[in-house]
Amino acid sequence: MITYTAPMWVGILIGFIIGAAAEIWGIANPETLIRLAKWEDRLFVICIALGLAISAPVLYGLYALGIGFHFSPKPLYVIGVGIGGLIFGSGLAISGYFPGSIWMALGEGRRDAIYAVFGAILGAATWTVLYQTPVGQWLVNTLNFGSVVIGGTHVDKFIIRPWYGTPAVIFGISLVYAVGLFLVAYYLPRYKGGVRSCLRENIEKRSTPYEVEKHKETAMFLTDGGLPYSENSIAKKLNEYYATESNVTRWFMVSVAGIVGLTVVLEMFLHQIFGESTTDSWLAGMLFLPTFKYSQSVFAGIGWEPFSDIGTLMGALFASVFLTRRFTSFRNIIPPSWSIRFGNSQITRFLGSFGGAYLMLFGARMADGCASGHILSGDLQMAISGLEFTAAVFAAMLITAHYVYRKR
């Protein structure tokens, strides 16, 4: 089996690619994720489904050919993962952030991301304290089925042992999995009230007037508070790609999903899975709780996550300065959905960003992963824990957003 382990500093480059791609995509802006939670803009679902459809067969195809990956499907402890996912989804709907998108938003110069960083560290610290109590141990040990993926069990760093036959069987399963995800990416309309996904829009080369209007509205909130750009700039093409002639730019927006998925496959070959929330536990341990049992296990097992998080921030900073011009210089920009419901007060936004991020990280650490470790890397490996976490997050996110953002 061919294996390789890259030096730690390479994590900065991996984080950089993912941070830059996701910033262009609009994930650094909390409004994007609040609209996802309100089920008004499903870009994230479409792109993640497409990214996984491309990268899961690549991962298991190469594995079947003898390439070794640093597999790390998270353990399936049903209760902890489920409850963690529910708490994570609620926090996501309130704050508009994933653990990784907080670093991206900082790179984009978003003020409310600063509040989210502190909420996130405190949320991680809360789990560190809870972990060594009987409740914490019950959550991670009850109904724990270990690290399992659809069709196999993770038995060693580089080995997933198939339940039947050879690794080629898991590759076959990944093809079926990819077809299912591709159908979601193709048929799920991007906008509520629209008819086409972004993929279908590009293939059919048309969109309804309503969809064009929604694209314009999206471009407006993405560029709100950003920097000026000229008519012929790359920023204009990226932000207003729906209105430009350039098909390359249009396809680039769709292919971001593939870039992110394949970068995670590369990362798994080089060193580890992509994860962003472990850094918060590591920071909480370093700052306040160095002697706690959970902190000790994080210190011993930490990979290049702190470096890849810094890389994520730098990638978003580069993209927002060089490409999209969405750098907001920490101005007071409140997500529109939030300001419609709660007004423009910095204090309420602080509470939403800080409190939401607190819940999100508490849930993420309870479940042993976040949107990166479970939804992106976990679902890419077809980890059953990742699929459970994804379902719990979406259920809680949709319900929370329905009540939090409903019109008075």
């Binding site: 900065i12 110069g109 407006m220 560029t223 508070g225 750009y229 932000n239 702190p306 730098m314």
Partner: protein, 88 residues
């Protein structure tokens, strides 16, 4: 408010610093970790790299605060004026 030419120069200067800063970050990361692949990262190693990121971000905020607050690439006041014109 600074002139357009000065803002462009400031923008270019910051971009150059950003590129140099990022390369420096990679060099520092490789140096402080001794190019290791498996040893867990320590607080001081991460801080050495993190400080560069914080500095670049802080500098970016200072520089781009000089630029007009914009939407869709146009300064907000200008954008509001053109919207009014379009409506009338």
């Amino acid at each position: 408010m600074m002139s357009r030419t000065n803002l462009d120069s400031l923008d270019k200067a910051y971009k150059a610093i950003l590129i140099v800063g990022f390369i420096l970050m990679l060099v520092v990361a490789a140096a402080v970790t001794n190019d290791t692949a498996t040893k867990p990262l320590t607080g001081s190693q991460v801080a050495a790299v993190g400080f560069i990121a914080v500095f670049l971000l802080f500098l970016g905020a200072l520089v781009y605060n000089q630029f007009p607050d914009s939407i869709l690439g146009k300064p907000k006041k200008e954008s509001q004026k053109s919207e009014v014109k379009e409506k009338s």
